[in-house]
């Protein structure tokens, strides 16, 4: 596959007074790809998006769009469509005028503008709301109008700043699917900021995990999920157990009785954290208390398709998720042995 870089974020740093908001961010965004910037609040993800949009200037580094340095271009010259956290629909304009505003500024008026607005309203499946005031729309409708307004100008880049955070869970799920379908339909290169790992996994071709203003890992979602680069990424992507397994000996650690060989070189004596997802921990009932590696179920909850357990073992609590069929006969207080597939355990040097 040949790489076709659309936007190159070239070593960008941002300093606010005495705080480093971003440090040496270097990122190449493929044409037509959907990139999610994911991280906890304060990680710099929104600042990075605002630098791409042109609302903030980088303290260092540059932005290269299709080979041209756009670092000094004001936002209105960049013409990137953006969806804001508050959506920022213009309250004094109707739906049609909101969507048509960017077109008007580009000299597209009259019938041409009306046709394009109608086309977009068709795309967002709200064909009959053109003349409504924005205040008369529901949350999901506003969402779609904000997306249509940003896409109306056929932007080279489509930027979204936590656009779905105000919606309730059900609507958010539907909007994620719709957003992804729209992005593919338009084929527009997209950058979305979110703190929701599930949303990021749903949407992204490329997931960029940020912490404290630096990129911790940038890769396709499944790769990040299965092979997190460090314990922060493993933890932030959720549902992972982080277990302090002590010093490494001969390139292997002992995980509750299962030897796990390290894939990356670690020095003997390094303290190691093992990350393993709840669904990758095996559970077998034991009757006697003879073995040392036996845990006790301290919590269980049937979630329908799966059952979630908390197993207390050697003073630690592990989360385990198994199919509900496997939960038969188990109860709080049951003794269980834990099994691990070494291939699904990631080892990191503890810091």
């Amino acid at each position: 596959m040949t790489s076709d870089t659309h936007l190159h974020i070239n070593n960008v740093s941002k300093r606010f007074d005495t705080v480093d908001a971003l440090r040496d961010i270097d990122l190449k965004i493929e044409r037509g790809s959907f990139v999610c910037l994911l991280g906890p609040s304060g990680c710099g993800k929104t600042t990075l998006l605002r630098i791409i949009a042109g609302f903030e200037a980088a303290s260092k580094g540059s932005l290269i769009l299709d080979g041209n340095d756009i670092s000094n271009q004001p936002p209105h010259k960049r013409g990137f469509g953006m969806v804001f956290q508050s959506l920022a629909l213009f309250p004094h304009m109707s739906v049609a005028r909101n969507i048509g505003y960017g077109l008007k500024l580009r000299g597209i008026k009259g019938a041409a503008q009306r046709d394009r607005v109608e086309e977009l309203l068709e795309v967002i499946q709200l064909p009959h709301i053109a003349d409504r005031p924005v205040s008369a729309l529901s949350g999901g409708q506003r969402q779609r109008v904000a997306i249509a307004r940003a896409l109306a100008i056929q932007p080279p880049l489509f930027l979204l700043d936590e656009p779905l955070s105000a919606l309730d869970a059900q609507l958010r799920d539907n909007m994620q699917i719709e957003l992804r379908q729209l992005q593919q339909k338009f084929g527009v290169t997209t950058v979305l900021v979110t703190h929701d790992q599930h949303e990021a996994m749903m949407l992204a071709d490329e997931l960029v995990v940020l912490k404290d203003g630096a990129i911790r890992q940038s890769a396709p979602p499944t790769q990040i999920y299965n092979d997190p680069a460090d314990s922060f990424v493993a933890d932030f992507l959720g549902a992972a157990n982080l277990i302090d397994v002590g010093a490494i000996k001969g390139g292997a650690v002992d995980l509750f009785g299962t030897p796990v060989q390290s894939a990356t070189p670690h020095q003997d004596g390094d303290n190691i954290l093992a990350a393993v997802r709840a669904e990758h921990v095996g559970l077998t009932p034991v009757l006697s208390n003879g073995k040392t590696c036996v845990g006790e179920i301290s919590f269980m909850r049937d979630l329908g398709a799966a059952t979630e357990f908390v197993v207390a073992i050697q003073g630690k609590d592990l989360r385990v998720r198994r199919s509900s069929a496997e939960a038969q006969g188990l109860d709080i207080g049951s003794k269980v042995a834990l099994t691990f597939d070494p291939a699904q355990v990631s080892l990191f040097k503890a810091v």
Binding site: P75, M82, A88, H92, K104
Partner: protein, 287 residues
Amino acid sequence: MSLQLTKPKALAYSLPALIAILPFLGACLYIFRFSISGEQSRIDGFSIQPYVDLMTPFFGRSVWLTLRLAFIATVLAMLMAVPLAFLLISLRSAFARRTLTIVILLPLILNLLVQAYGWILLLGPSGVLNSTLRSFGIIERPIFLLFNETGVLLGLVQTSLPLAVFPIVSAVRGISREHLEAASSLGASHWRIFFDVTVPLLRPGLFGAASIVFAFNASAFAIPLLLGGRRVQMMGIAIRDMISPLFNWSGAAAAGMILIFVTMFVMLFAAWLTRLASEKVERQNAR
């Protein structure tokens, strides 16, 4: 439990304010009654003579002068207040913001007399400006900036400015940064954003501020008296002259009623005009 006041409760708590307003309404009624009195110095019988007597070129000029000066002063005060409001909001340092707020508020705190004498000391015939210009030989006779319409306008703009600034400040605060950024991302330059987004969103606040300033200026009394002298007969002055040297109480009452109604009419007319203008913009944009 609702945290909002229920209507009966709100009404109960508003009672003191309503009672405080009552004497004012009483006074208005009393003045109205006096304005249709058959006698000039007391309320006796009914007559429209007080109003008929006012239909003179002299009083007509006074009404026209009042509306004209109040209107010009309002426009000037608004033109100055808008940038000032933006400046106030853009200030990051709390000290600078507080200092500017106090400077803007000062005219509301200081007695009008003190402010008027300040202008006289500065711009009067033997004031700082004239004596400086004379000492440099730039002028021979003093420039008369006071005791004419210019003086009254200066005074009105200066005293009404704080009334314009603070409603505009709260209106500007109500505009979210994301609205402006959204317009920018769609391709609007700074000026386009100002006219397409900022001004429409500010419009209610601007109109509110202008109404307050206009009403304040139209009913001004101390400033025209002290800075206009007898030559600038705004209605406040005209009404006082009817009371004090002439003892024409019913005429003064009729003139007061006319002042109230003319001011209200202008404000309603302006409100209607603003709505018409914004609807016209809507229609043009829709096309």
